[in-house]
Amino acid sequence: MDLHFGDSKPTDDERAAVDALLGPPESSWEGADRSDADLRWARGGREARDRRDLLLPGLHAINDRIGWISEGALDYLCRRLTVPPSEAYGVATFYAMFSVKPRPATVLHVCTDLACAATGASELCAGIESALGPGVHVERSPCLGLCERAPAALAIKAGDPVRTAVSAPATVHDAVLAASAPDSAPQEPPAAMAVPQAGDPGLTLLSRVGVVDPSSLDDYRAHGGYTALRRAFEIGPAGVIREVTDSGLVGRGGAAFPTGRKWQATASQPDHPHYLVCNADESEPGTFKDRVIMEGDPYALIEAMTIAAYATGAHKGYLYLRGEYPRALARLEHAIAQARARGLLGDDVLGQGYAFDIEIRRGAGAYICGEETALFNSIEGYRGEPRSKPPFPVEKGLFGKPTVENNVETLVNVLPILTMGAPAYAAIGTERSTGPKLFCVSGSVARPGIYELPFGATLGELLELAGVRDGLRAVLLGGAAGGFVRPDELGIPLTFEGTREAGTTLGSGVVMAFDDTVPLPRLLLRIAEFFRDESCGQCVPCRVGTVRQEEALHRIAERTGAAAADDIALLREVGRAMRDASICGLGQTAWNAVESAIDRLGAYE
């Protein structure tokens, strides 16, 4: 490897930010002043390159402290990790939350995605921009995962330490206050406010949200915490996998793959080490269930990850958390530290001689990193581009090793499976969709939030609970990658097989209601914009296709019938190729929602 570093130097602050993460440099080979010893041997090399996965945390460290990433700072980080500057530049420019151009220390992300757009995000943006001085950079952001309190804004003020404040539901005044003085901005409401059913004794997955103190391990244990892990140790790894398989649990991230089968496939791989990855990068517009669990019941996720790792033979778990969730990050960091201090993580979990620990990795604003293989690349310090499969992650995943990856909701389901036993769990829901399911309800409803229902409840029943308003025009199921259904289709049972039969998808459990005040063409344009912005750019059908679709939707924004027919035909042809030929799920599903709006809602008739 023949690395070339420019002569731009980091400022003292930038150097301090990187050194705080990596420790002080040892020799001039990695950025320190030259000593006599440096003339005799070179350090770094393979050892430093093995720390390539610290590139993303390093970029965060600089961006958190300074607000953007200068040439000098990037080169210094590259020197420390022996990463080629061109590659690090490629990584830094991949993520929306980083900037390689100077910008103010405070960035205010204002969500302009579906739920927020429907509640006046664009007027909010305009108001904020005229009210704020030049010291704040306003960024129009994709979904911030605060749909139950739309419209939402997130202020991030760089410094040591970095400060954040959330304003939701945001007004111009509140958002400006959050950006100008994040420390004195009003506190966010507790996580339980997002759970209208909180305290209901019938809840399983959400039973502790709003009931336990999310900062107290003792409180978690007092409410049944760590009984599932004890049971796991009793029945052993094979026993856990058997229970999970018998429970019929399938992945809740949208793909609905049988969890037990995935665990078994990973556990049986001869190659070691095995890794566990928790996908907490929920960036699907309209999804916020993982945030509520992590904020309201963080120890449950840690316990579930420990069980999953134990079952699959992993000793290291990565929790990949989206960068837009500062409160979830703080709560999880605290919970992991507590669990470690009490012997529930570390070399000897629960005194059982089993070693397991969790590292949190923050994303930096890229929807694509929720794709399982893109997430591996992101953790490893590469651009978050999906890999082609096969090989599948169970065989070659993170760092090329067998990896099991599950999202937060899937993992949390493992706790009731072990405490109540597979047969009792499988008795919930329907025969082919077992267990409880979380739904993120937002949009034109009286009580937006997370709802827990057994599989099999109908869409109408769910909307009834949430208090659907009059004049319902459309319901988006599964988020931007999902599909629209009509108000006369509310009898659709909310199961994987039921939605499939109805020609739609359950996806990640998003249910967004739109009444007739929401202009449908503008909504569809926003979806197209979202995918154009979030495409990684690796494959042609997605990189160019998303742009061509957005252009066509712009052309027909005000047109209907015959005037729109040409462009709708074009959309269909491009959409079909994207679905067939894109590398990953992003390109394959980018056309779903718009297609369903045309076919089921008659959007341009």
Binding site: G6, S388, S535, D580
Partner: protein, 286 residues
């Protein structure tokens, strides 16, 4: 005595292409098998000396049981696979991919693509005159080669060749995301401020002419570039003792560019700055 490496013995596996039974060695790709069976599948980003990146998606074929189409260039053939290369579904995706590409970049110097556009009846114009495209000026910042990203299809081959697969210089990478993704050196600097060592191996693998010799670029601009009038002569580089093969492209008794045969077992088409660009002394006739 010369020792000839035989490699690991490979088993043959059987599967079908368009209903015809074929046999291929374990580890071969569908594309390898198709080519051996005489099936022509268009490819753009596939490179004979680099690991397949399967980014362009023009080589997609249908595989029985697969939800989506699969890229023939990178998917390994498996026993019992049923591959169909020319179905309506596969042809439709290829046509759209060609349309999307041709509407967003300049494919005028991409070999074979004009034929495929005709064959698949692709109509890049139907996205309208306002369809977004790159529209970038060529970057001419050194005397050896020109980067014209208006012609770049982001096949990643130059990145792979500059990085760990060939040159290990890591001077270029993909920066940005989505439609704004671009091949760039660090900080978007000029090439002269980057880690580039001017080996020109990226030009060797570029399928579209986005990277070209300054000599070729200038002659094209002057209208004097005439491939049909060129002769190619392969010889041995005289600069050092490695013995790399050079293919001299000569027009009107002047060397206009230098390539290297990919089937050379030592260099696989790699050269250094001297072999690739150091030919002026040959035609110094003072």
């Amino acid at each position: 005595m010369t020792v000839v490496p035989l490699g690991i013995p490979r088993r043959l596996l059987e599967f079908t292409i368009d209903g015809e039974p074929v046999r291929t060695t374990e580890g071969s790709t569908i594309l390898d098998a198709c080519r051996a069976a005489g099936k022509d599948i268009p490819t753009l980003c596939e490179g004979d000396t680099l690991r397949p990146k399967n980014a362009c998606r023009v080589c997609v074929v249908e595989v029985e049981g697969s939800r989506t189409l699969v890229p023939a260039c990178s998917r390994k053939a498996e026993a019992g696979m049923e591959v169909r290369t020319g179905t309506e579904r596969a042809r439709h995706s290829r046509k759209i991919v060609l349309e999307l590409l041709a509407s967003s970049v300049d494919l005028s110097t991409t070999s074979q693509v004009a034929g495929w556009i005709k064959e698949y009846e692709a109509k890049p114009d139907r996205f309208g005159p306002d369809a977004a495209r790159l529209n970038e000026e060529p970057k001419v910042d050194n005397e050896l080669y020109v980067r014209d990203y208006d012609k770049c299809i982001l096949c990643y081959k130059c990145v792979d060749a500059c990085g760990d697969q060939w040159q290990n210089s890591f001077a270029i990478s993909v920066a940005g995301r989505g439609f704004d993704a671009r091949i760039a050196v660090e900080h978007d600097a000029p090439l002269t401020d980057s880690a580039c060592v001017y080996c020109g191996n990226c030009i060797e693998v570029c399928p579209t002419g986005a990277l070209s010799f300054k000599s070729e670029f200038d002659m094209r601009a002057a209208g004097t570039w005439d491939e049909s009038a060129q002769t190619e002569t392969t010889t041995v580089c005289a600069y050092c003792g490695v013995g790399c093969n050079l293919t001299l492209h000569v027009q009107d008794n002047e060397i206009v560019k230098v390539t290297s045969p990919h089937d050379n077992p030592v260099t696989h088409g790699n050269l250094c700055i001297k072999g690739r660009f150091g030919y002026q002394h040959v035609q110094n006739r003072d």
